[in-house]
Each structure stands twice: as structure tokens, then as C-alpha cells.
């Protein structure tokens, strides 16, 4: 009996409209989901029974006949009679009327109250937002049934009125969902662009805001419909429903009075409630899938990330030279797709010598990051990887168990990520994120690890190591966070450093300092470095050797000097020529005479 009011779900739902849906048609998508079909069929049956009740039985649902009490199933009574001789079948179908009408009242009231209020509050913000949000939180802090009991204390038994009030009670859920969706979509640049295009507010809301709100609201309405049926049944069970009206909750109450004599009377109303509400829930889930693509598949892939990379096929090949730190032979990475597996890396081979900095360059989608994560064994769970060999200082990484790989990661292979702020755990202090791996790998005491962490922070150019050690990630700048991540990557003295676009998220002045730092650390510790980047300036600054990737293949490997002075591959040449760096400046605008 709770509502999906969490603002984060609301926000994601807001984004979840799949444009393809518009084209395919919602109904078509929906009938492809079996549970949706079952749910829809059941709801149609219930609605039909409610509407056609007088045609389906000649009995009155409220006429009691003590002489015919607790009659078994028979010709006059298809489901028998209850403790005071009322026909169960008639009660059941007339009860469906009561339930559906009540639920409809709730849906309409909550929509009429919650939707406009949420739209206005989310779009215009300001005072209305403040006040309405406050009222919503006030209402949400009250147990619904208690509010209804307060109202019924005053007016006596009245199901329709109780449901009308319940519409208001549950409206804050609609309000919050709509408001959160609106706020999320308002942040989108296309809304700014529409405003600059000169759209009026009503038009902007209709064209760009409302379509985003519709999907989550429709999903929520199917849930509210179910909740309303449950709450109404609860009130009727308490004996507070309208008198002289058949209802499922009322039937349960009557059956409860006779629980020792005829517990079977519980079955029919209970089934009716459970099946109808289940249908609402299933319909809601199906709508979510139909409107929002298939989040289930996406989730499943992510989840498997924690188990180490799935299928690995291995074969042997000749030995590698002594001074090679890392040798990759014929690496293939693929992802399952709708139309069979999709290969993103097609047989990449690479070698990095000790103390060498290899730049892996390419445009987005070239497979450069996939190659780097393959070495770390940190590809997303859905990926499957195979290689003839990934030889790291005499060990073939493709043959290692998950535990053995975990002993290498962080200890002998370090990793520097791209985005500094999202790569530190926001809930833990910077210090503990540095100390934990050192204690784990090097067996240092808490005190020694702390001293070492402080020394590292100082080494990466942080002026006040004590303060940063005790800080939470949100308290330090992006540049500083990247220094902390570099400190973490080298904390256990790795022989190989894998840096995935380590300066892309940084300002150029900070980028220069971070590249200096990586270069110094590399020289000082004689590490081999695999640096993934799309920036030829970064390559020129730090790399000894360059491998250029395109569409999952390496098109050219050369020393940095050769690559820039004499690129062999046409693609490399095209990339280098595309660079606007060093191109002539645009000519100044000629001063226009008095032509205008």
C-alpha cells in the first residue's frame, strides 16, 4: 500500500520515454507482453461484469433470506449464499461495481489535483512550489486510513465520499512524481533551446514537458487504481463502507464474522481483490516496459560486472621477449546484441616494453577503452573476451582465476580513470580509500599505511595532505581528485599503469600538471604505461609509442616521432590533418563601410 514516490525513480522514468514507442504504437507494444494481455483480459472481464451485473444475475445482492442462509452452490445461487442468505455471485458482481467506481473516483481526483499542481510547481518553481511541496509532505506524513477515519467520524459511513477524500490523500504521490519529472526535463538543453526559439510557456509545456510526464503518470495511475481497491476493501472490512451496498470488503467482513463456521466465504471476495489488484500491478509493470524500452536487460548486464569477465578462450603462442611488460595477442571483445553478438574489438595485438609509455589513440567507439579494460579484467559483465594471450611479466592473465586476478589488480597493475569526481566513493574519506588497498596488498599497519598515504598525497603535488586525507570527495576540486586517484593507482608500486583518458575531464592548465605528474612518476618508478586518449596533443606530450585504433582494429603502430612526421596509414593522416591545432588563425573581419 505504498506509492512509488521516490524522486530518483521519478526522474529516471521521466527520461524513459522511448521515441520508438511513439512510432510503433503503445497498444501494439503492450500486446506483445504476455502478462499485459492476461492483466488486460481480466480487467475487461471485471469491468464487463460490473456494467452488465443486472443481466448476469436476477438476484439482488442485498436481499437477505435467513431461511436460505449458508446455502451450497445450486441452481438459484451459482456460488451459494452467505450467513444471512444473500446471493454470493450477485454480491460479487455488484461489489465489482462499487470497487471500480471507488477506484475511478480516486484516480480522477488524484490526477485532477496532482497533475496540474506538479506541472506548475516543477515548471515555474518559486513560491507555489514551496507551498505545494510543503502541503504534499504534510499529507504524506499521515497514515491514509487515519485521515479517512477522521472524515468518517464526522459524516458517518459513506464509501464514495471516503474515496473522494482518499483521492486528495494520495494526490501528493502524483504531485511529487510529476514535479520531479518536470524538473528533470527542465534541466535538458532542448527545453532551453525551445525557450530561445520563442515558444510561449503553455506551448512549451504542451510540446516538450507534458509528453515526458505522461508515461510515468499513466504507470502510476494503474498502481493507484490497485491501491484504491485495497484501501476501499479495508474500510469496508472495518464496517465503515456505505450501508446497503454490496462490496468486496463488506463480503470479507461478513465472512470474517463466520470464520469458524464457513471460512469458504472468504475465498470469492479475496480472489476478486487479489486478481484485480494483481492485474493493475502487472499492467503497470508492462506499461513501464512498453514505454521505457527494456530496463531489465540493461540492469542484468550491469549486475554481472562483479563476477569476473565471462568467457575466455585461450591458445598458446610463442614466448615473448624479456623486456616486454605486457603483450596482447589477438584480443577480441564482443557484446550480445539483438541481432547476434556484436564484436567491438577484432583481434588487437599490442606490446608494451618495461618503462615505455604507449598511447592508444582513436575516436569514440574505436574500442580503445575496451582494450584497456580487457587487460584489467574489468569489462562489463555482458562482454565476452577472448585472446590468444595477455602476457603480463610472465603470467598469462587469460588463465588466471578471479582471485588471482584480484591479487594483481591494484598491486601490480594500477588504473587511472577518466572522470575524477565520479571515481571516488562519496561516502568515504579520501584517506580511507588510499589506505585500504595498501593494507590489503602490502599488509601495512593502519599507522604505516596512513603515513604512506600522506607521503603519496604530498608526492602527487597536494599542498595540504593532512586536510585532503581527512576530506570527503565532495570537499576537494576535480584536479585534486584526479591527483588522489593517481596516488591510489601508484600506491602499491605497480609495474603497469593503465590510464583511461586521464586528463579529458580536466581544464588544460590542470591537464598539463597532471601529465607532468604521470611523466615524473613513470620515470621514477620505471612503470610501463598504457595511456588511452583521443587527444594527439597529449600523445605528443607523453607517449613513446603510439597505436592508432579505428573500429576495433589497430591501423598503425609507430614511435611518436615517426607517427607525427611520417604517418603511414590514410586514417592516421586524416586524423592528424583534422586537428585545428597549429592551423592558421582566421583573418580579421574587414571593416565594413557605410553600406548600411
Amino acid at each position: 500500500m505504498s506509492l512509488p514516490t521516490d524522486p530518483t525513480t521519478a526522474a529516471t522514468l521521466g527520461h524513459a520515454i522511448d521515441p520508438e514507442v511513439r512510432r510503433a504504437g503503445l497498444v501494439k507494444r503492450l500486446v506483445r507482453i504476455p502478462t499485459a494481455v492476461v492483466a488486460l483480459v481480466w480487467l475487461v472481464v471485471v469491468v464487463a461484469a460490473a456494467v452488465l451485473a443486472p443481466l448476469l444475475t436476477s438476484q439482488s445482492p442485498t436481499a437477505s433470506d435467513i431461511l436460505d442462509a449458508l446455502a451450497p452452490r445450486g441452481p438459484g445461487h451459482p456460488l451459494g449464499t452467505d450467513g444471512v442468505g444473500r446471493d454470493v455471485w450477485a454480491q460479487l458482481i455488484y461489489g465489482a461495481r462499487t470497487s471500480l467506481v471507488g477506484a475511478l473516483i480516486v484516480v480522477i481526483v488524484s490526477l485532477v489535483v496532482g497533475l496540474p499542481a506538479g506541472l506548475i510547481a516543477g515548471y515555474f518553481r518559486g513560491r507555489f512550489d514551496g507551498i505545494s511541496t510543503w502541503i504534499a509532505s504534510l499529507l504524506m506524513a499521515q497514515p491514509a486510513i487515519i485521515i479517512l477515519l477522521v472524515v468518517l467520524t464526522q459524516v458517518g459511513r459513506n464509501t464514495a465520499l471516503a474515496m473522494f477524500v482518499f483521492g486528495f490523500v494520495i494526490a501528493p504521490g502524483v504531485f511529487r512524481l510529476v514535479r520531479a519529472s518536470v524538473i528533470a526535463v527542465r534541466e535538458e538543453l532542448f527545453v532551453d533551446a525551445a525557450r530561445v526559439s520563442g515558444l510561449t510557456d503553455p506551448r512549451l509545456i504542451r510540446r516538450h514537458i507534458l509528453p515526458v510526464v505522461v508515461a510515468p503518470t499513466v504507470i502510476q495511475m494503474s498502481q493507484i487504481f490497485g491501491i484504491a481497491i485495497v484501501v476501499q476493501a479495508g474500510l469496508e472490512f472495518l464496517g465503515l463502507g456505505s450501508a446497503n451496498q454490496a462490496s468486496w470488503g463488506g463480503m470479507l467482513n461478513d465472512a470474517f464474522q463466520a470464520i469458524y463456521t464457513a471460512p469458504r466465504l472468504l475465498v470469492w471476495p479475496a480472489l476478486a481483490i487479489i486478481l484485480t489488484v494483481t492485474a493493475c500491478a502487472l499492467l503497470g509493470n508492462a506499461l513501464r516496459d512498453a514505454l521505457g524500452g527494456a530496463p531489465a536487460a540493461r540492469r542484468r548486464r550491469r549486475r554481472k560486472e562483479l563476477s569476473d569477465t565471462g568467457s575466455v578462450t585461450v591458445s598458446t603462442s610463442p614466448d615473448v621477449a624479456d623486456d616486454v611488460a605486457l603483450q596482447i595477442d589477438s584480443l577480441v571483445v564482443s557484446y550480445p546484441g539483438a541481432a547476434g553478438d556484436r564484436e567491438v574489438v577484432h583481434g588487437v595485438s599490442l606490446a608494451i616494453r618495461r618503462g615505455e609509455v604507449l598511447g592508444l589513440v582513436g575516436e569514440s567507439g574505436s574500442g580503445k577503452s575496451q582494450t584497456a579494460f580487457s587487460v584489467l579484467g574489468l569489462l562489463p559483465g555482458a562482454a565476452s573476451m577472448s585472446a590468444d594471450r595477455i602476457q603480463f611479466h610472465g603470467e598469462d592473465l587469460t588463465t588466471l582465476s578471479g582471485a588471482a586476478m584480484n591479487r594483481l589488480r591494484g598491486r601490480r597493475i594500477g588504473y587511472i580513470p577518466q572522470e575524477p569526481m565520479s571515481n571516488l566513493d562519496p561516502s568515504f574519506r579520501v584517506g580511507s580509500q588510499l589506505v585500504d588497498p595498501m593494507r590489503h596488498h602490502l599488509g601495512l599497519s593502519r599507522k604505516d599505511a596512513r603515513a604512506e598515504a600522506l607521503r603519496l598525497l604530498e608526492r602527487v603535488g597536494i599542498r595540504d595532505p593532512e586536510r585532503v586525507f581527512d576530506a570527503y570527495p565532495h570537499q576537494i576540486s576535480g584536479g585534486m581528485a584526479q591527483r588522489v586517484l593517481i596516488a591510489g593507482a601508484v600506491s602499491c608500486n605497480p609495474e603497469l599503469l593503465i590510464a583511461d583518458e586521464p586528463t579529458t575531464a580536466l581544464d588544460v592548465t590542470v591537464q598539463a600538471e597532471v601529465l607532468d605528474l604521470i611523466r615524473e612518476l613513470q620515470a621514477e618508478r620505471e612503470m610501463a604505461v598504457l595511456l588511452v586518449t583521443h587527444n594527439f596533443g597529449v600523445v605528443a606530450d607523453i607517449c613513446d609509442t603510439v597505436a592508432v585504433m579505428r573500429d576495433g582494429r589497430i591501423v598503425e603502430v609507430a614511435s611518436a616521432d615517426d607517427l607525427f612526421s611520417d604517418p603511414q596509414d590514410a586514417y592516421t593522416r586524416m586524423l592528424l590533418e583534422s586537428s585545428v591545432e597549429g592551423a592558421p588563425a582566421r583573418k580579421p573581419l574587414p571593416v565594413i563601410g557605410a553600406t548600411r
Partner: protein, 282 residues
Amino acid sequence: MTETPLLEVDDLVVEYDVRGFRRSPVRVLHGIALDVRRGETLGLVGESGSGKSTLGRAVLGLAPVTEGEIRFEGRAISGLGKRERRALSSDIQVVFQDPYTSLNPAMTVGDILAEPLAVGGVAKGEARQRVKDLLDAVHLPTDAAQRLPREFSGGQRQRVAIARALCREPKLIVCDEPVSALDLSTQARVLDLFVEIQERTGVAYLFVSHDLAVVRHIAHRVAVMYRGEIVELGDGDTVTSTPEHPYTQKLLLASPVPDPDAQATRRARRLEAASSGAGGAR
């Protein structure tokens, strides 16, 4: 000879309120002054937090103007009412950085381009022809109109965004980092498109970027921003190759050149400047 500039910004101050009791507002721009002439590209360079995007948003009416004035064709446009601001939409347009969120994913490219036309009162039949012409102008195939944004690559989406900006034949387009989310090869082609359109239509650009090389490529004049102030403003070639202000020099020396020898020299000069310049701003 003294033509009125298309856009003038005088002593512009932008402040944002900070939530919470008695918090003083944060000042993002501290008295900015610049102008853009007809048909000109003014490059606006700076690092994150320099206020360069805020300046663009203030011109678009998307950021609050606390003090100072913004004039368009000699008329003050800061603090306009909603109706008057909407009327300006035929003169001032925008291309944003992120081609993935600047196009409504639920609308076809044709609808996206027709929307500003409908606002401008263009009839449906005529709008359809105009959409065709616009797609042609940004070198997209005509059948693009029936497709959804997500069926396009980043560079193509940015072309759609440029076409949308061109719909109403504006006099000024604010370009907020329009190529920084694009791949290198795409970047160059989109920049060329910007130049081509400018030469054909005479539109002016206020071109915001963090990349000196990009700005050098497209801007006639360049303004360098640092912590909400303009520290240097001048001819594009001069500012991007022999800057005067220490911050611009630092920015230039920090940008890596795609040539190992030239970059080694630049790095050496930067390290030298840093050690002599007693730290500088970090």
C-alpha cells in the same frame, strides 16, 4: 565608419542566489564589457568556472542580469518581459554543447526544425520546404526530416542543432562549446560548416570554447575570461599566438601541440614560466 555593434555588453554582473538563510549570492560575472559586430565571430575562451557559458546564457536571457546592460542593435535587451524576449527569438539563436540533450528525443528532426518556424508564423507547406532547405544548408540528406535524433551520430545531431538555430535567419548565434563533445575529425568539419554559413549569411557568432586552437580557427576576435572577468580581448591571431596577459600565456603554454618536438619546447617554456612566475594560479 562607426557602425553600431550588433551586440554590446556593458559592465555585466551576474549573481546567483544561494539557498539557505542569509547566504550572500555568488557573483559569477564581475563587470563584463564586450561587443560583437555584424558578421563577426567573437571567441570567448576560458576554463571551467570562468563564467564564459554564463555570459552566453545571459545574452540569451537564460541567466539573470544583476547589474549592467546588454544591448542588441542599440536596444537594451536585459530585463525584457517574456513577450518582448520571445520577439527576439528571430534575431538571437543558440547552439549548445551537448548534441545528445539539446534535441528532444521524442520529436523527429523535421518537427524540431518546424517548431521555431511555426512560432514565427510560417505556414505548414512553406515550413516543409524551408526544412528541406535547412537540411540542405547543413549538408544532411532530405530524408533526415522523418528520422529521430538518436538515429544520428554526434556530428550529425550538431548539424541539426545548427539548422534549428538558422531557422529564423537570426543575426546572432550564441555557440556554447558546440564542438567540444565531438570527435576530432567531426569537429573540423562542423567548424568548417560554421564558417561556411557565416560567409554565406553574414550571421555573427558569440563562440564560447575552452580550446584556444578551436577559437583561433573560427574567431575574428578573441576574449579570454578568468574567474568572471575578461583578462584580454583582441585580434584573434594575436591573442592566440602572442598573448600579453600572463593567464592567457599560461593557457597557451598548457595546451599540448600534436608534434613531439614542438610540444617538448612548449613544455619546457611552461615549466620555466611556472618556476619564475612563483606558482601562479592553481
